[in-house]
């Protein structure tokens, strides 16, 4: 069961290995994302509040939506 899936573009940040990158932006993928030949497969199938990881601030936050 998966709460949420997110893709994140952080402006001018350090890139993580194995993730697409560009000069001014970095792309992060978190949540239960699956990388397929056709792209990112994002899933959200769990009721209730979302718990997400915020890379930039280095903290995890309960975030009900």
């Amino acid at each position: 069961m998966v709460n949420a899936s997110k893709l994140l573009v952080a402006v001018g940040l350090v890139v993580l290995p194995g993730i697409a990158k560009a000069d001014s932006f970095s792309l992060y993928s978190f949540g239960d994302n699956v990388v397929t030949p056709s792209g990112f497969l994002l899933t959200s199938n769990t009721p209730g509040p979302v718990l997400w990881w915020h890379e930039a601030n280095n903290h995890q936050s309960p975030y009900g939506r």
Partner: protein, 183 residues
């Protein structure tokens, strides 16, 4: 992991925001899919919802049932009310009230962006949840795509054929060695 922003991008600098997608399970709802802008100070966010506004802050998938991937279109170039300010830059705004992108830029154009998220988290709102394929994620002139880790290919000489070649070579060497011993 502590990261440092080195290239500020203001709200007004954001000229293109789009993705190519296909809903594979469920549809739009529960506040997603959407883009989320977070200000550089991490105080607040603004949501940019995908789809066709249907009133009351709800949106529908204009490409429901599509076989292939489709584009959201540039969501910061529409005149629809689809931006919901959630205390962005600490302005105290409530996400209950929608804005057009032009209105949001008028209020926050000089604010630096920290992150831009592509969110799918509305699965709670529908039976079976949501699943979506995202082929690419575009921010201004940067197009991000998933990178599939390469599958290691066969190494020449490895595996069963390589073993047979090695065995054959050993037999040939022993035969030559035996013949040399006889002569």
């Amino acid at each position: 992991m502590k990261l440092t922003i080195t290239n500020p991008l203001t709200v007004a600098d954001l000229l293109t925001l789009s993705a190519d997608y296909k809903m594979t399970t469920g549809t739009f709802g529960g506040g997603s899919p959407r883009f989320t802008l977070e200000d550089a100070s991490g105080i607040g966010t603004a949501y940019i919802y995908w789809g066709t506004p249907t009133g009351g802050g709800s949106f529908s998938d204009p490409n429901a049932g599509s076989v292939g991937l489709v584009s959201t279109g540039n969501l910061v170039a529409t005149s629809d009310i689809r931006v919901y300010d959630n205390n962005f830059n600490g302005d105290g705004a409530s996400s209950n009230f929608g804005l057009t992108w032009t209105q949001f830029v008028a209020n926050n154009g000089n604010v630096n962006l920290g992150d831009v998220y592509l969110d799918l988290d509305g699965g709670w709102s529908m039976e079976g949840g949501q699943q979506m394929l995202v082929n690419n994620f575009t921010v201004n002139n940067q197009v991000f795509t998933a990178e599939v880790a390469p599958v290691p290919g066969p190494i020449v000489g490895a595996g069963f054929p390589g073993l047979m070649m090695a065995f054959g070579g050993l037999l040939a060497w022993r035969r030559r060695r035996n013949q040399a011993a006889i002569t």
